[in-house]
């Protein structure tokens, strides 16, 4: 990549790949905008790494606090894949539930597992809430479907990702009814609605929820290029990018945050939402920022 003269990497690169390539992209002064949820993806040691999506670290605390306030759950269980991403999310969610006065028991499984009934039989015995955040939409749907088959009727939370559409397809409308999901975008905002309409007109109806985030990140990057007056000098572009705030994007006005958490302001700053599945449709029930959901 460095030999090919790549200056920018923008796309859904996960935690493992982003962490593995961090040293090379930093020494090569490659500006990256990835989907890496791990806190290790950002930091003063990676001055060219940016994150245009909102991660567990940002939404977990306010969203869990709102969920625990608005439901009766106090003993929640979570199933997560046993890898870098799963373990990071497990720790973040455990801390968020503890802060909200609830107990989260995290159970890890091998990523290729598709039958969760044995684990669910055990962990649902003492649980009054099920957390599925951090799983792929398919896996979240499978777990939800199998939990309902076992007779679990308690609340289900998906604190993370944009899983609702695919999860609904896998679990079915009945099993998914009432599930609280993380809602990354609000399509009632005019700019976001316009982006979604353009996307669907060109690529079809299935738009991943992260798509407008990356578009917003690119809009910020292009703004920085224009202001810096270069498309090659990534040091100058990064310095300009760091200073941007209130940039009009497809998601509304965006800036950077994260100095307190990561030591560097390279985490995109945008609102996010809590949704609830009602009759197969996700309805927005709360609007959040990194401090609280309302």
């Amino acid at each position: 990549m460095i030999q090919d003269g790549i200056r920018f990497v923008v796309g859904p690169m996960g935690s493992a790949a982003a962490v593995a390539t961090k040293d090379q992209t930093t020494s090569g002064k490659v500006i990256t905008m990835t989907l890496a949820f791990t806190p290790r993806a950002l930091g003063v040691d990676a001055p060219f790494a940016y994150r245009p999506v909102i991660t567990t670290g940002e939404f977990s605390d306010p969203q869990v606090a709102w969920l625990m306030k608005n439901t009766s759950a106090k003993q929640v269980v979570s199933l997560l894949p046993n890898d870098e991403t799963g373990q990071q999310i497990g720790v973040a969610n455990f801390n968020s539930y503890a802060k909200a006065g609830a107990k989260l028991q995290v159970e890890y499984f091998e990523r290729e597992r598709v039958d969760f009934v044995p684990i669910l039989t055990r962990i649902l015995m003492k649980a009054d809430g099920l957390e599925l955040g951090g799983n792929s939409p398919t896996t979240a749907g499978l777990i939800l479907k199998q939990a309902r088959e076992l007779g679990y009727r308690g609340p289900v939370f998906v604190t993370g990702g944009d899983v609702a559409a695919e999860m609904l397809k896998v679990a079915g409308k009945d099993a998914a009814e009432g599930t609280y999901v993380h809602l990354p975008i609000d399509t009632s905002l005019p700019d976001t609605a316009a982006y979604v309409a353009r996307f669907r007109a060109k690529y079809g109806p299935n738009m991943n929820g992260f798509s407008p985030f990356f578009y917003a990140g690119l809009q910020m990057l292009f703004t920085a290029m224009k202001k810096a007056g270069t498309v090659d000098d990534t040091t100058k572009i990064a310095a300009t990018l760091d200073g941007l705030s209130d940039v009009p994007t497809a998601m509304g006005k965006a800036g950077w945050t994260g100095e307190q958490k990561y030591g560097i302001r390279h985490q995109i700053d945008l609102p996010f939402y809590v949704g609830q599945i009602k009759d197969g449709i996700v309805a927005k029930v709360a609007t959040c920022d990194v401090n609280a959901c309302r």
Partner: protein, 291 residues
């Protein structure tokens, strides 16, 4: 929930998963026993069967029985085609046959990916609801899997044990050359065995489609399980595949329920290592004859 209820629930869970593993492993071990090919594309036939069933029954409302027949039949035809084009050339050539099967697996997976996309499909349950007996909950969708798998295994047992073609298959598995000398047409038995194995994999896919979800990537895990099971049960041994499948299913269920999901994977491979060390021919396999 009392311990007795959890125990029964765990056994039923283990039996369901175990029976699917049995279906997968029988096809896998039959192909090896008769053609001496370790078919790593086996799970992709499971995936194709599940996908076709999802399209027919799930998306186009074709009646259940017709969907099953069409999905298994079309996958069997695909298996026949693959046997003719690829596997026939590697009979008895275990290493090259195994590499070719990996190639076929990748071709099948990517073909499905190109044709029908990567997103998961769901299939409505054949029977919904749960059977509740004394506080124990049995989802009907899972009971259907157990019943369907038992019917398939019993039918296969009758075919192998009590029919002319079954006896011929056993003879070829024991010694293809001697079988040929005795007048058995091994060039017919090979594709029959392959298609039968593929059909069992497709039927397993059809049974599991309403319980799990269907995507182009579901074939790998059952292939690995089938491989583990036939190593435990003995390569080429159908009773060994049944014993190994049920053993792995129950280990998965009990370890997952009472200890942890990760430990269940560890336990399975500890069993494999123990079998390979203590009884290399597998629990019910025969020792290879030395030249």
């Amino acid at each position: 929930m009392s311990m007795e209820i959890i125990l029964v629930q765990t056994v039923v869970n283990g039996l369901m998963v175990g029976m699917i593993y049995v279906l997968m492993a029988i096809g896998f071990t039959m192909v090896f026993g008769i053609m001496r090919i370790v078919n790593f594309a086996h799970g992709e036939f499971y995936m194709v069967g599940a996908f076709l069933f999802a399209i027919l029954y799930g998306s186009n409302d074709v009646p259940f029985s017709i969907s099953v027949l069409l999905a298994v039949g079309a996958t069997a035809l695909l298996g026949l085609l693959m046997e003719r084009i690829v596997f026939r050339r590697f009979r008895g050539n275990e290493l090259n046959g195994m590499i070719a099967s990996v190639g076929v697996a990748l071709i099948l997976q990517n073909s499905v990916l190109l044709m029908w996309g990567s997103s998961s499909r769901t299939v409505p349950p054949v029977i919904s609801g749960v059977l509740s007996v004394g506080g124990i909950v049995f989802p009907w969708s899972r009971l259907v899997v157990i019943i369907g798998a038992i019917v398939a295994v019993v039918s296969l047992n009758l075919l192998i044990g009590h029919t002319r073609i079954g006896r011929a298959m056993r003879a070829v598995a024991q010694d293809a050359e001697i079988a040929q000398v005795q007048g058995i047409r091994v060039d017919v038995i090979f594709p029959v065995a392959f298609v039968l194995g593929v059909s069992l994999a497709a039927f397993a896919g059809v049974l599991m489609a309403p319980v799990l979800s269907v995507s182009p990537f579901i074939g790998l895990a059952p292939t690995l399980k089938a491989f583990v099971i036939v190593v435990i049960g003995g390569l080429g041994s159908v009773p060994g595949a049944v014993a190994g499948g049920l053993l792995i299913g129950l280990i998965e269920s009990f370890a997952g329920t009472f200890v942890s999901a990760s430990l269940s994977e560890i336990l399975q491979f500890l069993v494999v290592i123990a079998v390979v060390l203590l009884r290399p021919q597998g629990l019910l396999g025969r020792k290879e004859r030395e030249a």
